[in-house]
């Protein structure tokens, strides 16, 4: 099998992993060697599905010993199998990196024989890159649950980010769909990595050249829609992961049916992309906007509203807190206004020191008032034409994707402007 064919098979097998970020660590390059790392991450391309291509995302091998029902690489599935040799993969990475195609390597693998053996093979790739080729670019590596703790530790010392995929959000689903895996087996390496990162931070505060263990942190992935867990369960789990395991990211991956099985949704199910999107929006609220998972759900309803984004949904349930005044509200309050993000809130706090903000001023700052207009006052005044009543706001906020029907323009039909002119006497 030539390199072309291997690359095709092993990319195809790895593409369902959502994580492709190259962020979280800044590392200066070394004189004469190749590579550095940038904390913000850099996207190098965007594939036809609109996702960022930042890392060379491949499996080392897709010949798996396990038989997880949701997975395309399960050993009972009839697909082409391939494996890179460590040398091939290291050279491919160097060749791509030098041409600025990629930001680094995302290395995952099916379980080749046993978890320990898989880890050894992956470690060989990492050592080749770091020690032989002197590669200082980004490396994201998947820890293999069930492998020896010492092997996981060595991986973390060579890579920037290390991750373990939980995949299925509850113990029952895991037992049902991935009989070889167990929740404890997955959480054990996560706990180990989390404490390894904390130890490194302590050590680095004392001596500058302490070895860095996974400096870009740890992440994980949950599959959405393969099993019956609710949004509330998923977000509560993510919140616990951020708090207890200090994860940098929890990725959500809408389940794409790739294999037929009684325990799984049928093959013609479309991936729940909107649900994935809403979960990501809620995830951002947890990480950057000071929300808690429990705030986002009303007592009776364990799901997120698909028609509205989670912040709008929350705001409509708390109309007592609104409207707030842009010129005096605290940064934290501004962050809770639908339509105002971290950047807009920051710009408002900077600009209002210089002058009293009006709605025109807000527009000039680049604050979008499509949603925010219903929840703000500027200088004590509301946006003209806005009724602050949840019954009117909800239909107005629901995004209109395409016009419902074409409206025939008419000279006789009074437009909204005409009505206003009549009222103000400008006609």
């Amino acid at each position: 099998m030539d390199l072309m064919e291997k690359l095709e098979v092993l990319t195809d097998a790895a593409k369902y992993d959502a994580a492709c970020t190259s962020s979280g660590v800044t590392r200066r390059g070394v004189r004469g060697a190749l590579g550095n790392a940038v904390a913000s991450g850099i996207c190098h391309s965007f594939s036809a599905d609109g996702r960022c291509v930042s890392l060379l995302k491949v499996l080392l091998t897709n010949a798996c010993a396990y038989d997880c029902k949701y997975c395309v690489n399960r050993n009972s599935n009839d697909v082409k199998r391939a494996a890179f040799t460590p040398q091939e993969l290291a050279e491919l990475t160097m060749g791509f990196y030098r041409r600025n195609y990629i930001e680094g390597l995302f290395l995952s693998s099916a379980v080749a024989g046993s978890p320990d053996r898989t880890c050894e093979l992956m470690l060989e790739v990492l050592r080749l890159l770091r020690n032989t080729h002197h590669f200082f670019g980004y490396i994201h590596v998947k820890a293999i649950p069930g492998a020896d703790a010492r092997l996981t530790r060595q991986m973390g010392l060579l890579a920037d980010r290390i991750s373990v995929n939980i995949e299925l959000p509850s113990e029952q689903s895991l037992n049902c769909l991935a009989p070889e895996k167990s929740r404890a087996g997955i959480l054990f390496p996560m706990r180990q990595i989390s404490s390894g990162i904390l130890d490194t931070q302590n050590a680095l505060s004392r001596y500058r050249y302490a070895p860095k263990f996974a400096p870009a942190g740890q992440s994980t992935q949950l599959i959405i829609g393969a099993t019956p867990e609710s949004d509330r369960q998923i977000l509560t789990l993510s919140e616990a992961l951020y708090r207890n395991y200090h994860l940098k990211r929890v990725f959500f991956s809408a389940y794409v049916p790739v294999v037929a099985d009684k325990a799984l949704p049928p093959l013609d199910t479309r991936p729940p992309l909107l649900r994935e999107h809403r979960l990501y929006q809620a995830d951002w609220l947890l990480r950057f906007y000071g929300f808690e998972a429990s705030e986002l759900f009303s007592p009776g309803d364990p799901g997120l509203d698909m028609a509205l984004d989670p912040k709008c949904q929350w705001a409509l349930g708390h109309m007592g807190d609104f409207p707030i005044e842009v010129n005096t509200a605290a940064y934290e309050q501004l962050l809770r206004v639908p339509g105002i993000g971290v950047k807009s809130a920051w710009r408002i706090t900077v600009a209002r020191r210089e002058q009293c903000l009006t709605f025109d001023g807000l527009k000039r700052l680049g604050v979008v008032l499509k949603r925010a207009g219903y929840f703000l006052t500027a200088g004590g005044k509301a946006l003209p034409g806005v009724k602050m009543d949840p019954r009117f706001i909800r239909p107005a906020l629901i995004e209109k994707r395409a016009p419902q029907s074409y409206e025939q323009l008419s000279f006789l039909e009074p437009t909204r402007e005409d009505v206003q002119k009549c009222l103000t006497g400008q006609i």
């Binding site: 390199l3 072309m4 690359l7 095709e8 990319t11 195809d12 790895a14 593409k15 369902y16 200066r28 390059g29 070394v30 004189r31 004469g32 060697a33 190749l34 590579g35 550095n36 940038v38 913000s40 850099i42 996207c43 190098h44 391309s45 965007f46 594939s47 036809a48 599905d49 609109g50 996702r51 960022c52 291509v53 930042s54 060379l56 995302k57 491919l92 060749g95 791509f96 030098r98 041409r99 600025n100 195609y101 930001e103 809408a254 794409v256 479309r270 991936p271 992309l273 710009r347 900077v350 600009a351 020191r353 210089e354 002058q355 903000l357 001023g361 000039r364 700052l365 680049g366």
Partner: protein, 259 residues
């Protein structure tokens, strides 16, 4: 008496030249209607004054801005000068004059139309420079990396530190086709030079192989059932694509090269 406004300044198009214009404004008590590079055409019948660039004066003005206002203010001025914004010179000089009157915090007055316009242009510049850190594609010929980009703004000075750090052991050239400039790095020294045109060497066998691998990877990594050309278009607008191998069809060797 108010400053005289019925005239146009001509400068050499460099940041130093612009700083000399600032000096001229104050020393001759003038507030020109427009400031234009020497080679740019205009249709106004106002008298023109050519401002000669004097590095010593430029340094004096730069020191005044850094000292009396702030280093951030000077960085902002330098970035704003790299933007592709019509009439930016006039806006920058007006901002500096206002800065000397009211202090460095005029930069925070984002509600002001002039400050706002410049801030947006500077953000667009920084954004474009960041995107090009990822979207630049190198071709390897005889161990030298070459690349062509077509940015709207003059992004090369902002890309310099990143690429020199990342490829410190290499020799590379990034050619900015829009502004006919190139960033050249060789043996640890980087410089930006004007180059009128650049003919890249034809890709060799190894290059063709890597491009084919990259195209294959790019095609395979996309999930068919999630296809979303609108989102791809949002993140990667057409104007960036012309120099990216994965989004342009492969070129095949000519027949005589094969035989």
């Amino acid at each position: 008496m108010p400053d005289r406004t019925d005239l146009i300044y001509r400068y050499d198009g460099t940041l130093k030249g612009l700083l000399c214009c600032v000096y001229e404004c104050f020393s001759s008590k003038e507030n020109p209607m427009m400031i234009l590079p020497k080679d740019e055409m205009q249709l106004m019948l106002l008298p023109e004054k050519v401002i000669e660039t004097d590095p010593a004066i430029a340094l004096r003005v730069a020191n005044a801005i850094t000292g009396k206002l702030s280093e951030e203010f000077m960085r902002f001025v330098a970035s704003a000068h790299l933007c592709a914004l019509a009439g930016r010179e006039g806006l920058i000089v007006a901002l500096i004059r206002r800065g000397f009157r009211q202090g460095a915090r005029v930069l925070n007055d984002l509600g002001d139309p002039a400050v706002n316009k410049l801030t947006r242009a500077v953000n667009a510049l920084a954004n474009e420079a960041h995107l090009y850190l990822g979207f630049t594609r190198f071709q390897v010929t005889d161990g030298v990396l070459t690349s062509v980009i077509e940015p709207k703004n003059r992004v090369l000075p902002l890309m310099r530190a990143h690429f020199c750090d990342r490829f410190s052991g290499e020799t590379f050239l990034i050619y900015d086709k829009t502004h006919a400039q190139a960033l050249i790095y060789h043996l640890g020294v980087a410089r930006i030079e004007s180059i009128q045109s650049l003919q890249l060497p034809a890709e060799d066998e190894v290059e063709r192989h890597f491009r084919a691998l990259w195209r294959l990877f790019f095609k395979t990594v996309s999930i068919a059932s999630r296809e979303n050309p609108q989102q791809q278009q949002t993140h990667l607008p057409q104007r960036y694509r012309s120099q990216m191998p994965e989004l342009t069809p492969p070129t095949y060797p000519k027949l005589q090269e094969i035989s």
